[in-house]
Every structure is written in C-alpha cells, then in structure tokens.
Homo-oligomer: 485 residues x 2
Amino acid sequence: MILPVKLRPIIFVNGLVLSKLALFMYIPAAVAFFTKTPGVVNFIQAIVITHLFSFLLLRIGKMTQSRMKAREMFLLTSSVWVICCAFGALPIMLLGHTSYVDAYFETMSGLTTTGSTVLSGLDKLPPALLLWRSLLQWLGGIGFIVLAVAILPFLNVGGMRLFQTESSDWSEKSAPRTKYVAANILAVYSTLSILCAIGYRLSGMSWFDAINHAMTTLSTGGYSTSDQSMAHFSKIAHWNGILFMFLGGLPFLLFVQALRQKKLSQLTHDAQVRGFLLIILIIGAIMSTWLWQHSALHFTDALRISLFNILSIITTTGYGLTDFSQWGHFTTTLFIFLMLIGACSGSTAGGLKIFRLQISGTLFHKQIRQLLYPRGIFPQRYNDRPVSDEIIRSVVAFTVAYFLTIIVLSAALSFLGSGPITAISGAITAVANVGPGIGSVIGPSSNFASLSDMAKWFLSLGMLMGRLEILTVAVLFFPAYWRDI
Amino acid sequence: MILPVKLRPIIFVNGLVLSKLALFMYIPAAVAFFTKTPGVVNFIQAIVITHLFSFLLLRIGKMTQSRMKAREMFLLTSSVWVICCAFGALPIMLLGHTSYVDAYFETMSGLTTTGSTVLSGLDKLPPALLLWRSLLQWLGGIGFIVLAVAILPFLNVGGMRLFQTESSDWSEKSAPRTKYVAANILAVYSTLSILCAIGYRLSGMSWFDAINHAMTTLSTGGYSTSDQSMAHFSKIAHWNGILFMFLGGLPFLLFVQALRQKKLSQLTHDAQVRGFLLIILIIGAIMSTWLWQHSALHFTDALRISLFNILSIITTTGYGLTDFSQWGHFTTTLFIFLMLIGACSGSTAGGLKIFRLQISGTLFHKQIRQLLYPRGIFPQRYNDRPVSDEIIRSVVAFTVAYFLTIIVLSAALSFLGSGPITAISGAITAVANVGPGIGSVIGPSSNFASLSDMAKWFLSLGMLMGRLEILTVAVLFFPAYWRDI
Ligand SMILES: [K+]
Ligand SMILES: [K+]
C-alpha cells in the first residue's frame, strides 16, 4: 500500500524541530547550574534523550527538495506538536516528580499556550522548572503565529485564506519572502517580550519573575511563578500585563507591517482590531463602573481589576487576579462567552477568534436583508474586501467543528465522572486554550491534578485541536486522509 | 410616513384569529358548567372581553383581496402569537388568581408548546383551567405545523425553503391546494390525538387526564394535570406517551403524504426521519443498558424509563418522569445537548431541528474533503436532492441566530440575578421550547414562579422567538423592516 503522504520528509522535519527543542533545554539547565538550584542533572538527562531521538529521526527521515503537499502539512503540523510535547515533558516529569501523563498534560498546556496546570506549590518549585514552563509557552506562542501566517492560510483551515498574503504563498519563489516575514515577526515578538519583562521588573518583580511572566504574557499562555498568579504582584505589574496582553491579542503580521511602514492606521482600520477594541472598551466601561459602584474600591482600582480580568479572558491568557465568580452571576456568564470568542486571528490567543464572529454577524445581517428583500443581491464584504462563498463555508465548517469538539470533549469528561460545570468549562478552557476552568474542581483556586489520567489525555487532545484550529488535526481521523487519491 | 407594511389587513387577520380563540374558550367554560366546578364566570368574562376586542380589530382592520407580501407575513405571524397570548392569559389570571405577567408567561409557554409553568398544586386546580392550558398547547402545536408547512418555506426562514412544496407556493392559484393540505394535516393531527387519548384511557387514566395528556403529547407541549407529571401514571401510559411523542416529533406533512399514498417508505427513506430514529435507537440502547446494569430495575422498566426520558427531551416535550440528574453527570450533559437539537422540522417539536444538524454535518464533511482535495468539486446533497448555497447560508444564519438568542437571553437572566445553571438552562429550555430547566430553581422538581417579572417577560420573548424560528421575530427589531423600500 502506498500512502498518499510521504512520511520520510515529515519524519525529517520532526527530527529537526526536536533538535531545536533540545537546544532550548540548555537554558533552564544553565540557570539551574549558575543559581545552584536543582535540575541540572534532570535537564541533562532530558537533553541527551531528546538529542538521541532527534538524531534517530533525522537518520530515518529524508530531506526533500520538492515542496510539501497541502495534505502532508496537516500531518506535519500535528506530529510536530505531539512529538515536542512527548519530549518537552521529560524535564517536568524528572524534576517535578510527576507521572508522565501529568508532565505530558503540562507540556501540551504549555506549548498550546493554554496554561492549565497540574502543579501546585509553584512558589517553591525549582526555578529551572518554572522557566521551562514559561519557555514552552513562549515557543508555542511564536510557533502558532508563524503557523497562522505561513501555513494555515495556505491550507484554508477555518477561513484563514482570508488572511492570505504573499507570505503564505508557499511556492519556491516566495520562500525567501516567507522567511523574511517570519524573521520580522520573531524580531517584534522578542522585542515586545523584552519590553514587557522590563515593565514587570520596574513594577517591582524580580528579574526572574519578570522574564517568566513576560514570556507567558506575550504568548497569552498564562503560566505564573506563583500559586496566587498575578494577585501576588503589584498594581503596576497589572497595568503592564493589561498592555502586553492586549498587544498579544493583536494580529501580529499586521502589527509588524504597521510598525515597518510607520502607519498605525493600518492597524486601527482593520475590522478585527476594531472589533477587539470595541469589545474591550464596552465591557470594560460596564464592568469597571459596576465594580466601582458595588465595592469600596477606588475608581482606578476598579478599572485595573476589570480590564485585567477582561483581557486575561478575551486574549485567553487565563492569569488569575480575582475570583470573579464572586462578582455575581452576570460576570460569570459573561466571562464564559468571552472565553469562547478569543481575540484576533493571527495572534497568540485561542478561541473562535473575532473575525469568525464578525463573518457570522455579516452572514446574519445579510440574511435579515434577504428576508426583507427576497430578490435583492447582497454581496458579502469584510474589511473592505469581498468574501467568497468558499471562505464563508470554511468559517462555518470551522465553527461547527469548534463547538462539536467542545461538545464531544465535555461529554467524554462527564462520562469519565466530572460534573456538568467541570466537564463543560474544562472542555471550553482546553479547546479555547484559556487555562483555568470554573467551579471547585478545576476553577482558578484549584488545578487539574485531581482529574483521571484518561481525562488528562482527552484534555490534551482538546488543547492540541484548539491550538491547531481543529480541522488540521481532525482531518487525520478521516480514513480518506490515509487513502490514495 | 408610509409604512412598507399594510397594517389594516394584518389587524383584520389578528381580529379573525382572536375570534377563533374566543370560541375555544367556550369548551372549558362548558366543562366547568357541566361538572359544576369553578370557572364558568371567569371564562365568560374572558370570552366577552376577547370577543369585544376581536370585534374592534375586525372593524379597524380591513380584509384585502390581494395576497400579502413576505414582509407583511413576519409581522402577521408574530403579532398573532403575541395577541393570542394577551387574551389567552385572561382565564388563567382570573381563575388561577395569578398576576397578569404570570398568566401571560403561562399562556406563551402553552401556545409555543414550551410547557414551563408558574403554577403549582396542579392536581387541585379547577378542571377548566387545566383543560385551557392543554388546549393552548394543542392549538399552538397545530398552529406551528401549518406555519412550518405553509408560511416558513415561503419566507425561507432558517433554510426552510428546503421543504418547499406546491403547498407552500402561496400564490392565488395554489391557495385551494394549501387549504386542502392544511385540512389533511388537521385531520391527521386530530385523529392521532384521539387515538392517543384512547391509549391513555386504556392505560388507566381518567378520561379527563387522558384527553389533557393527549393534547399535550401530540403537541410536544408537556403540560400535565399533576405536579408529578407522568410519574403519576401507569407504565402503560408511559409506553403510550413514548409512541405518541415519537409521532409528534415526525415531519407532519410527510406523515400525511405517506398515509395518503399508503407508502410508509416515504417516511422511512427521509434523511431527517432516519436521523431522528438513529439518535433515539443509539442513545436508547446505551442508556437503557446502563440503567439496567446500574439499578435494580427489570430490563423492560429500564428501557421504558430511558426511552420516555429521551423522547421527552429530544421531542422537546418536557414531561417529567424521573430526576435524571441523579443518573450521573454523563446523562445530564447528554440531555442538555439533546434539548438543543430537537426533533424533525415540520413537527411540533422545538430546538435546532435534526435537518439543520445534518446540513451542518454535510458542510463539515465537505470541508474535510475540500482540505484533502483543494481542487475538487463537491456538490452538496441532502435527502437525495442538491442543496443550494442559499439554503446553506440560511441554515447557518439560523443557527447563529439561535445560539445568539440563547446567549443574549442567558446573559439577561443572569443580569437579573439568576445563577449560571438557571440562566443558561432557562434560556435553552425557553428558546428550544422544552419546558423544565435544570437545577433547584427551575428544575423538574420546581417551577418558574420564583423568577422576577422581568425575567418572565424575557423568557416569554425567548419562547416566542424559539417557536417562530427566531428570524421571523428578529427581523422586526431591525429598523430596515419599518423603512420604505
Ligand atoms: K492561556
Ligand atoms: K415542550
């Protein structure tokens, strides 16, 4: 039987990426070594195993000169994420003394920038381990942006063709340009991370906390170095977090272009960015006013707490600050919906993404006009550009798949014994890559450790599917994928 | 200013329908009179007021010879439902000693075949009042079927054009044919109701209980004459309920055609009916086996209880039998999703409807194949017929509107002070026209009386929107509706 996908180039790229992952393990190893904290040996063990396996893959695999087919990209993308988690988990298992399942869950949660955790007593964990978790999120964040700019539009997963640019052409000719854009994005992402770290340092954090939180802010990952999450730090740190979570929720490619051309209007005229800003401003105004009226807080504090929570939720960062379920039922319900939405496509945020919500809104509005004027012709436009029926179908299929995944996952979790709140919020938080769930089991004041191993595997799959825009992974489950054409 | 809709014909039809509603009030009045139970005076008061108002409307309005425009049908449909509730509420307020809000809620819940109630101590209520509630559901059921067969396909609300037949042509020429089909549907609906009543009588119910439950079974309404709902009656009654709830969930027009042509295959070859059967069989098999294993029940009892609950939920009837939340978390989560789906379009059931789920599934499957074969052409087919892009867009717009309505309604309910479970399940149960909610406030063992007046108004609007397939009502909220072309 001849598979319709060539496995050897895929194995080769997996080996290549794995060797890069091993290089990043040297950083926490070095930190452990120089600060004389635990973890040097554990990290060296993980590095050796990872290097060996990556060497093996590079030998089995074969570099190919011809470009990959779309069909091969699905398997490539999914397998890279899965295999990086398989080896990224090693230091966590060895140094954190967890089971392999727990370590895998934690790594998947890191690389998908979800930020759900099975670890507790964070404040007392070895610095090398904390740094590794933050690094995983930072790498996952930049990995996803590059994926969203360079690969997903080309595959037309979930209507991403809407964002097709020269850089996602993926032909021989445009390869140098794609590399150039990717390098630019990396430069901006790194610069923002450094600025964010400086901001946190000035707010009173130690350099270690500042660097860790900068990595998990820009990637909208949400891992913290403290069990209290952001509540552990100063008010200025919160404002710094608000700013950089906001930046992390913007479409990066557009951001890079606006910076290069020094035209901020590129950003402010974008429909998605405007929608993002509008949601934050409206909900921020309502919530901070409400909080100010219903508490003894000063207005600036009410504003800070409201904005921090809103941005933490809508950018799917998932930092904890206050237990907002105590603000009353309205806030809880509102936040569940904000989670589902997520920020802009092309950012590090998860969720359904604002542009899909806007496309659905356009569709709804068109339908209303069609009901009123049955013979009218209403072309669909978005962001001043016409939207093809193909993109609409693709957005809709994604939305169906997104909710279907959440439904199946929550059914699976409840089958494994979770209550409705845990099952549904667990499924949403995983698939939308948010992090904390709701309720006493997996809520902000608790963690995912108490779930069964099987539940953790399911949640890991949910996080992966959410991160890779569902269909990239789902397509592999169809027999047609593996059949010859 | 000239309105784009002619109001006088609409007012006239409203008056006409209201005069028919008044006629139906004579039935409970007569029952009260002959059984010497309370209510004669109250019903006569309501009848006089309704007759007077209907007379007024008939005078203000004006019959028109030309057929109505699509645009006018939206206002006509919505206003008929609203005004019938306004006057149908009178006997409930007068005889049930409730506030007008409560009576309005109860009537809307009846006419939309939702079956949420604010009344308790049903077993001791005057028979005339119980009969009126059941009658409202029975009338609402047949009203909706006729709407779904004759009007909605013509308006193309929510992809209903898929079910366009000669009978929904609505032109001068086809008017007699539409009347003929409507008469046929009414005949089948009435015959089934009578058979159902006989079945219930044979199962041991009194004639009064049998007739009431027959009316609320066929209409998938779910009002009962007992606080214990169906748990009050015998096992044979449950089997009778299973059979007739199933029939109530079938597409009526198809059912009528199959009966007339004596070809059952018309029914069994329909994609929607097959999907409906498949869901019931699969979930029924799993649940009854599970219940049999995990309880001391005999297998036939486990089967009966499982099927009854499944049919009660999926046909959105909402009869209570057992508190299934005690069967574990999996069942609760499963039942929430079953509620959202609903049974076949063209039946009396609420919810999203199975055909929309199937169209979404087709779309999803097409998308997967499109990802694998980017240059392939995959025509969309449903039920052996091609599906136009227009219908797909319409189905999608409906689905977006359906979930948006649930989201906005649950946000409104939580703003008014309900907890997440009450708010979300309350919104779902109203919009999907199911009846009971989940949890301690509005769950099967409680009722809606404790909610605030404002919450009841919102829920009434939600039930109306759910019943009239959302867009029929939503379109009225758009200024464009009221502007001239
Ligand atoms: K996150
Ligand atoms: K119902």
